[in-house]
Amino acid sequence: MHGLINRSIQCFIRDNYGQSAWSRTADLAGVDRAGFEAMQFYPDGVTLDLLDAAGQVLDRAVPDLFEDIGTYLVSHPNTDSLRRLLRFGGASFEDFLYSLEDLPFRAKLAVPDLALPAFSLKARGNGEFDIDLECLFPEGQRLLVGLLRSIADDYGSFALVSCHGDSVHVSLLQTDFAPAHQFDLVRIE
């Protein structure tokens, strides 16, 4: 598993629950409290242990944690870099949805050895979309649910996002429901 994944989980715990919650999770999972290097690889088992430990320490079911992590990746100030990279995918939320199939390729453009699962998008018409993705973890689709809900919000759109079996369903109810979170092509320092 790419270190970026483990590091995201680590930062999610630290930023949402505090340093001490992270320390307890690291101890329980048997990983160094110093955490993970974003640019290195770790055995897949480490991520599984980390998620299980987080579930125990934070008293949350792992699928619920996935959804929280998805939300965190877009909406927390510390993850603004990632939010920006995702916003490059489309000028509107609908464009973004269509660009999901490009996400594994775009991720590789950014980090050549980062392999994301393949996405397949089916537009049903009327703002209804179904997204299929192969997940390494059971109910891993919940991460996409949190992420899409958060990014719809970022675009100023109103969308309902939910899991249906292994698929993620999106109902785009209103494109410009609220002002979008600022996105400039070039980051303003």
């Binding site: 290097e37 990279l85 490059f88 950014a110 070039v186």
Partner: protein, 328 residues
């Protein structure tokens, strides 16, 4: 605009294909433009304005007037925006059939970030086929990844230095260990640096250890280490080479008399009592001194052996003394 046999492109269609294009007549006066072109020159009234007063063709060189545009047709152009733009563009110019004018299409080039910021360009200002937004994405991601790698290298460096330091340190006293001594000896030989060695031995340390226990013994060794550190300069090296044995390397010195007096000062201090938790403790010390170039030997190891030999004689004569090799 007519495409032979295909149809007509109106200005809306042209705007989708080339948001940053501009059309001028045969003498270079601007007649029409794409929706994003005015963003490049917001303070200029474009209609009728001379195009080559707005953009300068840098490559190919020598294209200064509208007459030269014909020679540039179809080539890959490099242009610079004038009139407040000062940004670089790539472009291509084509001749318009029938009207003898020209169409120039532009896209930012080089410092894309600067051009995008200067002209407040958004995704909508680029044709759906234009890869500038993807370039900006890749450039931004590259910086993030590069910064993370730099930070990681910093952490790895710090960890490496810390591990190296630990590997060379005697845990109890913080002095150097035998590995550090070997490293120092290599350095002295490679650099042909003059040096002297003091071999030091504590006289009655074992008795203290036996009488008062290891905790007191350990504390005593730390106090001895303090004395040694205070007695030499920063560039000298103190090694704990045995349980109660120390090797001191005095660097870059050729004055044996000075080294001998350092050794004497150390021995004198170590012969004084130490105030410890268990009361006053006296141990004493003996030292042997040898210097490169004075003794017959030359390598650091050989000098150390010399110093050791005279240390043995100092101990045998009752302790509390310093003997200098070559001056016995």
């Amino acid at each position: 605009m007519t495409l032979t046999g295909i149809g007509v492109l109106n200005s809306t269609a042209l705007g989708h294909l080339m948001p940053m294009h501009v059309i001028c007549n045969a003498v270079g006066e601007i007649g029409s433009w794409g929706p994003s072109f005015p963003k490049l020159f917001p303070d200029t009234v474009l209609d009728g304005f001379p195009l080559l007063d707005l953009v300068e063709i840098r490559r190919p060189p020598g294209a200064a007037s509208a007459d030269d545009l014909a020679d540039c047709v179809g080539q890959s152009l490099r242009l610079r925006g004038l009139a407040g733009s000062h940004c670089d563009f790539k472009g291509v110019v084509v001749k318009l059939e029938g009207s003898s004018g020209y169409l120039l299409n532009l896209s930012p080039y080089g410092d894309l970030a600067r051009a995008v910021q200067r002209h407040c360009l958004t995704i909508a200002d680029f044709a759906p086929t234009d890869h500038v937004p993807e370039m900006l994405y890749v450039m931004e991601a590259k910086v993030l990844v590069h910064d993370e790698i730099k930070r990681m290298n910093g952490r790895l460096d710090a960890a490496k230095r810390s591990a190296e330091e630990q590997a060379l340190t005697d845990t109890l006293t913080g002095l150097g260990n035998l590995r550090a001594m070997e490293r120092c000896f290599d350095e002295l030989e490679r650099g042909c640096i003059p040096f002297a060695i003091i071999q030091l031995d504590l006289d009655r340390f074992k008795q203290v250890n036996d009488r008062f226990g290891h905790a007191v013994g350990d504390e005593l060794l730390q106090r001895v280490a303090d004395v040694l550190v205070r007695s030499v300069r920063a560039e000298d090296l103190i090694i704990r080479s045995g349980g109660d044995e120390f090797t001191i390397v005095i660097r870059s010195t050729g004055i044996l008399r000075l080294v001998a007096s350092v050794a004497q000062r150390i021995v004198d201090r170590l012969c004084e009592p130490f105030a410890m938790s268990v009361g006053s403790v006296t141990i004493g010390a003996s030292a042997g001194v040898a210097m490169a170039g004075v003794s017959l030997a030359n390598s650091p190891t050989a000098i150390r052996e010399c110093a050791d030999a005279v240390l043995y004689r100092a101990k045998s004569s009752g302790g509390g003394t310093v003997i200098v090799a070559g001056f016995e």
